[in-house]
Symmetry: D2
Subunit: 304 residues, 4 copies
């Protein structure tokens, strides 16, 4: 079970590290146009393997991707303080036009897992650039994790007990689908009441802001975000490698919205194997359509 | 099961991330004199918890360490390109004199796991500064991992199949105890012969250099090393938390050498529970004594 | 981290095996009045440790429980084909009166995790016999797993995607709380609709019967049930050992119902740390009260 | 990732349970000529999945094996008290002649992992009956685990710290290769000396007897052995599924000995990918040849 990582920057390397620590694959190869960096990252990660599960971690040129079951694409520029994800579109689209056909040629049969931002537009683009491949974007898997983390903190439980989806764009227009939130299986307001914990519009607003601004806040404090996304990418890759048919809010072209965006989707060895549309409130539905609108506009000019 | 991390820089944060990805503890708190950094790191790591095992990750002042079973100390300056680990002694000893008594006071009963360099001298110092605590240094756990990784690559096996110890200083004088090396249980030369693989003095020399220069090489390519050490710290902490009585080359004051250095030691909930001295060749034994000499000299002036 | 198992029969040994395979503890001791059986089970399980996570598995007399953080009690008679769980009450209560005070004396500070049937009545009894100990029963953790398994099969997803509680008695009067069921976070009927899967009263009835009759059905085919309960006990024990504060439907004395029964409860190192009562439909609430009534009646004559 | 199990008796079901508890595969199917038993075992195991990693566990006819990456074969009679493994030869060979061609037809491309005894002779036979398949036997993986467990107990360490091979027959003539034994990387006698522990010919003899008689002893106390072998089978299957290229003492036809027996072999997705012959003492070498002689004799009459 081999995983390839294209773009051994903070995000790509952290995803590779997460896969190594969890023993999710037997072989892992990092590739980057900055070869010394890819080599140094691969070495540092390889030193984690003897005290983990023995994954063989190497670096190499694009050809080294051959035989990968999953290729994670995290190459490209990332947000600078003050920039939004959409500001990256042009630069990263150019990189993708250059890069993806080669990746596709070297790794036939691999599922391509896109992380580069803006992830929805680039998933769309990668789908067109690699028409024979299953392609999906990390989408709002990370945003859903952030949302759950903040709810869990309020509820005083560990975050695996919280369920709830963030849908639409991985970005400012994303939809926090409160109607899907449960804590330990109870509607969030019931859980809070049962535990005698406060639950007010202010707290909800604070969680909304916290979710939406998490990246900006972390970038403010440490210049980049990579731990959360690294773990999210590892999780998605594991579900593909193990053919788990797990439900994750990954991004993919969605005909009814005319663009790539995140909905809960069944993920297995073939990539996306179905979509499970939750029943949203009218407000949520409207917000989702608005988010799709933002994405459609952002995608203009990316028509391959 | 709570773990504290003091110094939420690259090493401390990466160790916390590794613990979160593996679900090694239920609670994790990061503390740093740079509070916004600790907060941003804790947030980024916390976003990995919902897609991992639900660890509750927070940041806070020193008081937040209360209740920790293990405290990892990674605060301090790290090597710049061209610097050796010992160059850091004065600066980091000053930080320890300031910091360790407070850590000890806030986390009575915790095992202190030291990562800051030069790790042997600082383990020595921390032992004196926290006389009621079990203290150990990450020592050559990382170097042993690097050594095994390089042998594994030559042997064509996964690195968990390689055994072998690096002893003495975590630094230039460390001893690669070739006499302890086995691959899949066979002496390394037998394994290579059985697989028809080359095994020459040149290859051994290359592995020696590769092990000793790994940090410098990685620092050259990516400015700092943190993945290997983060996983090593997580592994040591797990062995303490789970009372595993595992054998690891951690650093601790060693009366027969008059200084702290690494030997294979049994690690459990009480910290170090014994030492298992392998039979070395005369050359290895001599090199170990020389390494102890280097360390004794470096420790001068650190007498608390 | 030591776990004790009292009663090394099919259930006790299987729980010990599950803990060993998952590496949930460092030490495991089995005790049984049939000493050769405990010894043979411990040996067979111990042979799994070298190919798992190295747990030390031994057998011994009651004194060997000393130092355990959790003691699983699975001693006693089990159901014969045609018997209900309540038929075991008298025999197993007598065993408990004999056994529990000794267990409590040997393992001060341990959380007692009761598996012996009828588990609710015996949890009640054990609570009185070990007044200084935290005591909980495996309750409907297993029944909830069975319920989820059957729903997952219909939904075509893996069973970790299904949430839903079985409450009340671990036995015929248990309440399948359909109002708490979600699949991938969607109400079960929404999920089935989204996937184009049938969902009818007949299917629900089939799942109800399947859950309630699972034990009888398995006993018919293989004489006893132990895999599901073994994994459930391991899961509960792990949550206690790791202080996870996880929500599980374990059994404990419940003042508002005047008897021990299962509700979703927060489980951590101190045993039960709270209860999270879901909002039930009036029918479910009534069924829960009826179940409590059955249990109160069954407990009569067990007043220590 | 699907695993099939043929023969849902104690051994087959326990292996399936181990795979489920560790989440080693996404799908697991049990098949047995006793269909109600296969169904009951699959159900009981399936109830472990919701509290583990969500494996989908089912039962079915031979056709249900389709799509398996590994098929574990544990169908057949097992030893009764007083019987040796070789006494089972005729009965189980007949079952194999009947069964294996059908298994091979239903699961093209699967690696066949044989557990039925006498495992060496039946691995030989299965290799001939399924000439297109990679076939290997569990061999002395279990015996090596037993050997390590007994040494670990004497050494006071956890058994993952002990290395050492049992070679040749899975049976009375097996060779305990003491020359390959290390504890925490030290030759066993050095480790014992370093820890001040006794190490005498009597202790070695006791460990030899304990290893060789483990099965008989366990069968005496609980009628059958299945936990150790179940975990061993799970481990081997995991190494195949994950293409780990791990070294395990599995059984396979070995031209230089003219029969199937166990040597340390590299196990990956293609089954056995190489053999690593340790340097044995002359006595060990001779004992290995004697063991091969026993096996050759036992194989007579099995020439398909
Ligand atoms: N999807 C998410 O949730 C999420 C979260 C965080 C970051 N990101 C995105 O991930 C991307 C990477 O971020 P980062 O922090 O790792 O950045 P980084 O600058 O650390 O790394 C980017 C790497 O890509 C490499 N690269 C650039 N062009 C390349 C090419 N043509 N071929 C090969 N490699 C090339 C660079 O050399 C560099 O090593 C950014 O677009 C960022 O916005 C996404
Ligand atoms: N033991 C090993 O094998 C190993 C390997 C790599 C690095 N290291 C060492 O680990 C240390 C940390 O390296 P890094 O890369 O994380 O450095 P870093 O600069 O990224 O982080 C160091 C952190 O320590 C904090 N800090 C400094 N003084 C403090 C104080 N008094 N109280 C609290 N926090 C304080 C800083 O604010 C900073 O966040 C260095 O000494 C480095 O040499 C050890
Ligand atoms: N809670 C659940 O969900 C659940 C599920 C299955 C079984 N069970 C119950 O678990 C219990 C055990 O079932 P089993 O299948 O393992 O039965 P078993 O007959 O295989 O084992 C019972 C063991 O208890 C031992 N024992 C009896 N009295 C003892 C004493 N005084 N001290 C020490 N040991 C004693 C016996 O020697 C025997 O080894 C039964 O009561 C059964 O109904 C509970
Ligand atoms: N390799 C080892 O280290 C090791 C260890 C223990 C047991 N074993 C062997 O494993 C085998 C199984 O032992 P067990 O304890 O599970 O026995 P068991 O009697 O519990 O189970 C054997 C199963 O095989 C089934 N079976 C028989 N013929 C069949 C056929 N033609 N098609 C399908 N299924 C068939 C039976 O119905 C039964 O369910 C025995 O040969 C035993 O000696 C091997």
């Amino acid at each position: 079970m081999k995983v390839g990582v294209v773009g051994a920057g903070l995000v790509g390397a952290t995803a590779a590290y997460a896969l190594t620590l969890r023993g999710s694959c037997s072989d892992l190869v990092l590739t980057d146009k900055d070869e010394p960096r890819a080599q140094a990252e691969a070495q540092d990660i390889a030193h984690a393997a003897p005290v983990s599960h023995g994954t063989r971690v190497t670096s190499g040129p694009l050809e080294a991707l051959s035989g990968s079951a999953v290729v994670i694409v995290a190459a490209g520029a990332n947000q600078q303080p003050g920039e939004s994800r959409l500001d990256l579109t042009g630069r990263n689209a150019a990189i993708f036009r250059d890069l993806i056909p080669g990746v596709a040629a070297q790794a036939p049969g691999a599922v391509l897992l896109i992380a580069t931002n803006p992830v929805d537009a680039l998933t769309d683009l990668a789908t067109r650039l690699a028409p024979e491949h299953a392609v999906l974007g990390s989408g709002t898997v990370l945003d859903s994790a952030r949302f759950r983390h903040l709810i869990a903190r309020r509820a005083g439980v560990d975050p695996t007990h919280v369920h709830g989806y963030v849908l639409g764009e991985h970005g400012d227009s994303e939809v926090l689908a409160w109607s899907t939130v449960t804590v330990a299986g109870l509607p969030v307001e019931d859980f809070m009441a049962a535990r005698g914990l406060p639950w007010t519009p202010e707290i909800r607003a604070e969680i909304e802001t916290g979710t939406r601004d998490a990246a900006a806040h972390i970038i403010g404090g440490k210049r980049a975000t990579y731990y959360g996304i690294g773990a999210s990418l590892a999780r998605i890759a594991e579900r593909i490698l193990g053919d788990r048919r797990a439900v994750l809010t990954v991004s993919a072209p969605t005909p009814e919205f005319g663009v790539s965006l995140s909905l809960p989707r069944i993920v297995g060895s073939g990539g996306i194997e179905g979509t499970v549309m939750p029943r949203l409130t009218p407000e949520e539905q409207q917000a989702l359509e608005a988010s799709a609108g933002v994405l459609r506009q952002a995608s203009e000019g990316l028509e391959n």
